[in-house]
């Protein structure tokens, strides 16, 4: 999908979530669902399978998010899946998050860790990033067991890698 189309869907989702008045919640739920799609290939392929009827795929979305996410989030995801843009959903959500943060004059910092951060850690990390880069950021945490330990922060094209995985990789490189 072209960037303009991703941006168009992101703007549409942003507008709907803002109109419904629960932008922060919808944004967070969409972000989590996008991460689930990235990490679960079977889920992604099922929702993107053109051989499965749209109603069946939307039913799968209802079953997954029903009762666990807001009705707005469920409706937005169902709409994207029904439009046949399942494979673009992670990029659309990233654009939505960027769009939402930008509306608050902030950047998005995607943080990968093995365990979730506490609220206090999120605030400290946002403050530390602000101190280091001069940018006001919103923290989006992605639970990634492959990190093993520590944190990997991505702000746009900048990456601050303090993971145990990186250190193990450095150790592996030193053996070569």
């Amino acid at each position: 999908m072209a960037d303009s189309r991703v941006t168009g869907y992101a703007d549409a989702l942003f507008a709907v979530a803002a109109a419904e008045g629960d932008l922060a919640v919808v944004e967070d739920e969409l972000f989590r669902f996008a991460q689930a799609l990235r990490s679960d290939d079977q889920l992604g392929s099922t929702l993107a399978d053109q051989g499965v009827p749209v109603s069946r795929r939307q039913q799968v979305v209802e079953d997954l998010l029903g009762g666990k996410a807001s009705a707005t989030t469920t409706a937005l995801v169902s709409m994207v899946v029904g439009a046949g843009r399942t494979t673009d959903l992670p990029a659309i959500v990233d654009a939505l998050v960027e769009r939402s943060a930008a509306s608050r004059n902030k950047s998005v910092a995607t943080v990968r860790t093995a365990i979730d951060l506490t609220a206090e850690q999120r605030n400290r990390l946002a403050s530390a990033i602000n101190t280091r880069t001069g940018r006001d950021v919103e923290i989006r945490v992605v639970i990634d067991p492959t990190v093993l330990g520590g944190v990997v922060t991505e702000i746009g094209d900048d990456i601050i890698d303090g993971s145990v995985r990186r250190r193990l990789n450095q150790l592996r490189e030193s053996f070569r």
């Binding site: 365990i115 990390l125 530390a128 990033i129 101190t131 093993l148 520590g150 944190v151 193990l168 053996f175």
Partner: protein
């Protein structure tokens, strides 16, 4: 030719003189012993008459005794000499007029032919010598050419052998270098593979140890340390 002709003419004359020189009295009379005796008696009877006893006449007896003297075995009788001489002369004249020119012509022709043959033989010999000289010259040239070709072939063979040896040595050196490079590459690759294998085993073990030791408390401390590093600008 003139000397040979004079000898031919002199030979019959010498033969006639010889015959005349060796002629005896009996033979000169041209009779045999009996004929001689009959002629003596006949002459005596004519001279003395038939009534005269001629056999007891001493003169007749002397003449009869002469008839018993040995006749000349060579000298023919006179008529034979005459006829023979005439025939000889005729034959001689014929020979001089006809035979000798014919014989002379034949001999001249023969001599001319022999001379021509000799000249031809000489020419043939000269030609043969020229051919032989030419042949020997060509043979020498051929031998020289053959020698030159052999030398060239030998030189070419030496050059080819030298080139082949040089190329073979170059190929061998290249093969040795390539083999050495392959061995070195294989050794390096084996060391790298071994190192990677050891590193993989070690890192796998380290990862398992790290995973087992990374409980929630340790994870929290790692996150806090990361935040401090980012804040301090050391990340």
């Amino acid at each position: 030719m003139r000397i040979r002709r004079n000898r031919l003419l002199a030979a019959p004359l010498f033969a006639l003189l010889g015959i005349a020189a060796f002629a005896s009295p009996a033979q000169a009379s041209g009779e045999s012993v009996g004929g001689c005796m009959a002629e003596v008696i006949h002459e005596a009877e004519e001279h003395h008459g038939k009534d005269h006893d001629v056999l007891h006449d001493e003169h007749v007896q002397d003449e009869l005794e002469k008839c018993f003297e040995a006749p000349n075995p060579i000298l023919p009788e006179l008529n034979e000499i005459v006829w023979g001489g005439a025939a000889f002369l005729i034959l001689f004249v014929l020979m001089v007029k006809k035979g000798f020119p014919a014989v002379k012509g034949a001999m001249d022709a023969r001599a001319e032919k022999i001379r021509t043959d000799l000249d031809a033989a000489e020419q043939a010999r000269t030609d043969a010598q020229a051919v032989q000289a030419d042949y020997e010259e060509r043979l020498a040239d051929a031998k020289a050419e053959a020698s030159r070709l052999i030398d060239e072939a030998r030189g070419a063979a030496d050059q080819v052998r030298t080139d082949l040896m040089a190329r073979h040595e170059a190929e061998m050196a290249e093969l040795r270098a390539r083999a050495a490079a392959d061995i070195e590459s294989s050794r390096t690759q084996a060391i790298a593979d071994l190192r990677a294998e050891v590193a993989g085993i070690a890192l796998g073990a380290a990862e398992r140890v790290v995973q087992s030791s990374l409980d929630t408390e340790v994870q929290g401390r790692l996150i806090d340390a990361y935040i401090d590093e980012v804040a301090g600008g050391n990340g």
